[in-house]
């Protein structure tokens, strides 16, 4: 490798890839084979965290930031005046292996701008993964972008060597996509997703019958939406997510708060803060859908299409449904305990395990690490001396907001500041 040039390319192409949020490296089943290099089974591992607190698990780069498209929200858009670069196939392979052997990473996340045409681009990406798997006997994690418009043959080949494939839907609605990415069609994104879903399901069925069936994208597929660049409400966004989870067997939907990078007047101006709180609330809602048994209609609806920014969506649901509370954790079903604000998935399981030994009291919950100050408004304890005061949902919300110490607190203060 020519040292200076590779260093420069890495700077450009890692910088260009960083707006892709996914850095997960879990959920694959690929094991070390024939005493080769790497093992992608087991939990994901974050090898480092950036100064903005995000996980660095994979060598996340673009093959090139040359692109024939001109999507307004994208830093690599054709009309943007930035430095361009492209890795060779061998350079990506050497970087991946060199980083992996030093335990810097769990594997490779490879995306690319679209140069020439989709098939040409996809073919290069596939060539890299093939080389890693077949020549280097590399069994680490590989997340590959499926380029919209690439042929079925290439996508299938990609699935045979990668652990995860993803196509970014980018915009929550077709209207926004048309507005900001005139070269792209919604259907171009949906089609490869459907194709991958069918293939993944097909290979899984086959695998059950014949264990020798090769792996096909064992860590499934994911997608990403840019949040806050356009006018969608949370109902539209979460509705889209729900569709992906239910209809596309999507493993993850990522939300990427728009980082202003353009003077384009269709977009928020440079200097507009990244909508980090909203992004955070969307992830919380996403978790409720996937792990807490919530239905999307319980979180957002036509009567309230946006998530509250000042409280989390689970507390929001509880305050709208006070008739479901108080709940006695000593007798309630796990599903109901999961719905109590301040109790998470592991907390709920701990409660169900610990209550076999004794009737749990408030101090027991505190010991278990439950956020009791938050959950107490929703809990019933059969103690004759404790009077349950009937608080309204507004009172509860005020109590909680006054006692919690959110880093966003200043953004929500009801008090007018004088100076």
């Amino acid at each position: 490798m020519v040292h200076e040039r590779v260093m420069e390319k890495l700077a450009i192409l890692a910088d260009a890839a960083k707006y892709d949020v996914s850095c997960s490296s879990s959920n694959s089943t690929r094991k070390n084979k024939n005493k080769g290099l790497g093992d992608a089974s087991g939990n994901g591992i974050c090898h480092a965290y950036t100064e903005d607190g995000r996980c660095v698990s994979l060598l996340k780069i673009l093959l090139t930031n040359h692109c024939i498209f001109d999507c307004a929200y994208c830093v690599s858009r054709k009309s943007n005046d930035i430095k361009r670069a492209a890795f060779t196939v061998q350079e990506v392979v050497d970087l991946t292996i060199g980083f992996y052997r030093r335990n810097y990473i769990e594997g490779l996340f490879l995306s690319s701008g679209i140069f020439d045409n989709p098939d040409y681009t996809m073919e290069r990406l596939v060539r890299i993964v093939k080389k890693l798997r077949l020549e280097e006997n590399f069994n680490g994690y590989i997340h590959l972008k499926a380029i919209p418009g690439a042929s079925a043959e290439l996508l299938r080949e990609a699935g045979l060597y990668a652990d995860r494939l993803s196509v970014n839907v980018e915009m929550p609605t077709e209207k926004s996509l048309k507005l900001l990415a005139p070269d792209k069609n919604h259907i171009d994104v949906i089609k490869p997703m459907e194709f991958l879903k069918e293939e993944i399901v097909g290979y899984n069925e086959e695998k059950k019958k014949n264990y020798k069936t090769p792996l096909f994208a064992p860590a499934g597929q994911s997608t990403q939406m840019v949040i806050g660049a356009t006018q969608e409400n949370d109902l539209e966004i979460l509705g889209m997510s729900n569709y992906f989870y239910e209809k596309m067997n999507m493993r993850r939907v990522y939300y990427s708060g728009y980082v202003p990078i353009s003077y384009d007047n269709r977009l928020p101006v440079i200097g507009t803060p990244v909508p980090m709180i909203r992004e955070n609330r969307l992830y919380q809602a996403d978790w409720l859908l996937r792990f807490y048994g919530f239905n999307v209609n319980e979180i957002v609806g036509f009567d309230q299409p946006n998530l509250d920014l000042d409280i989390d969506p689970k507390l929001g649901w509880a305050l709208r449904n006070l008739d479901k509370f108080p709940v006695d954790v000593n007798t309630a079903d796990l599903e109901l305990i999961l719905r109590i604000p301040g109790i998470g998935v592991s907390g709920a399981h701990k409660i169900v395990a610990a209550r076999k030994f004794k009737r749990l009291q408030p101090e027991d919950l505190q010991k278990l690490g439950i956020a009791y100050s938050r959950s107490k408004y929703f809990l019933a304890f059969a103690s004759p001396f404790q009077l349950q005061r009937d608080l309204t949902s507004i009172q509860i919300k005020d109590h909680i907001l006054n006692t919690q110490n959110s880093k966003y607190k200043n953004d929500f203060s009801n008090q007018l500041s004088l100076f």
Binding site: M1, H3, V6, M7, L10, A11, A14, D15, A17, K18, Y19, K31, N32, K35, G36, L37, G38, D39, G42, N43, I45, C46, H47, A48, Y49, T50, E51, D52, G53, R54, C55, V56, L59, K60, L95, G98, F99, R101, R102, N103, Y104, N137, G257, V259, P260, P273, V274, M276, K350, A353, A354, K356, F357, K358, L360, D364, K367, L368, K407
Partner: protein, 258 residues
């Protein structure tokens, strides 16, 4: 009161547990032979590590616990939290005195303490899987230095053996002065002493592979490039990468030559 003195190994502690039951000691405190500060007014009892006895205690525990609960005892021991040997003994007494599995009885203090200690060790062993940074030497050895709070090498050995099956590597715990070494066939525990000059840049340049420094710089560059300045969140960064680990993390050590 009896002061039970063992050799600070897990097997030694298990032997001690066996003998406390055998000798019917009522009131015990544990002490490790390397730091045996004598207590006034107490009997001293020396334990000779006996693998047979250790195994009998382990078998007894295995029957009373789930596989996870069983593994947690070893993890809690490795946490090296002050007086964990005593807490663990309280826990073991509770386990043997009950007819049912008590590992989930988290409102009981020793049960909770042990669970917490096991969690701590578990978290740090996960972190070490992440924070080991191998450096390549001229004779093709990938070596890394770590200084974890808990004694986690026994817990991460398998992970690294599965993963780096085609390269020789050594992970050295500078705090406890021992390492695990994989020679392309087996992983073994090795005792060695690094000399004081081993951190001088001249020495490192002499032993390092020609491309080693380049890769370290590539990694630093990558780490810098993936950061998004407008989302800066130092609190979160520090929560995930506590400062005590920085001195062995390539990306957190500035390149002095630049």
């Amino acid at each position: 009161m009896t002061q039970v003195i063992y050799d600070s190994t897990f097997e030694g502690w298990l032997t001690a547990v066996f003998e406390i039951y055998e000798q019917k000691f009522e009131d015990v405190v544990f002490a490790k032979s390397e730091v045996s500060n004598t207590l006034l007014f107490s009997e001293r009892y020396f334990v000779e590590t006996d693998l047979q006895k250790a195994k009998r205690v382990l078998n007894g525990l295995k029957q009373k616990l789930s596989s996870e609960g069983f593994a947690n005892i070893y993890k809690a021991f490795l946490s090296e939290i002050d007086k964990m040997d005593e807490t663990l003994f309280q826990y073991v007494k509770y386990i043997f005195s009950s007819a049912i599995n008590v590992e989930d009885d988290l409102s009981n203090s020793p049960v909770l303490e042990v669970r917490k200690a096991a969690y701590l060790t578990g978290r740090e062993s996960h972190r070490m899987k992440a924070f080991v940074r191998f450096k390549l030497t001229k004779d093709n050895l990938y070596y890394a230095i770590v200084e974890p709070d808990c004694d986690v090498l026994p817990l991460i050995e398998k992970h690294f053996t599965n993963r780096y099956a085609d390269q020789r590597w050594l992970i050295y715990d500078a705090k406890r002065k021992y390492g695990i070494y994989y020679d392309l066939e087996n992983t073994t525990s090795v005792q060695l002493e690094f000399n004081a000059n081993s951190n001088s840049s001249q020495f490192l340049a002499e032993i390092s592979d020609d491309n080693e420094e380049f890769f370290q710089n590539l990694w630093r560059q990558f780490f810098k490039s993936v950061n998004i300045e407008s989302r800066k969140n130092t609190k979160l960064h520090l929560q995930h990468m506590p400062k005590r680990y920085w001195k062995n993390l390539t990306e957190k050590i500035p390149n002095l030559k630049k």
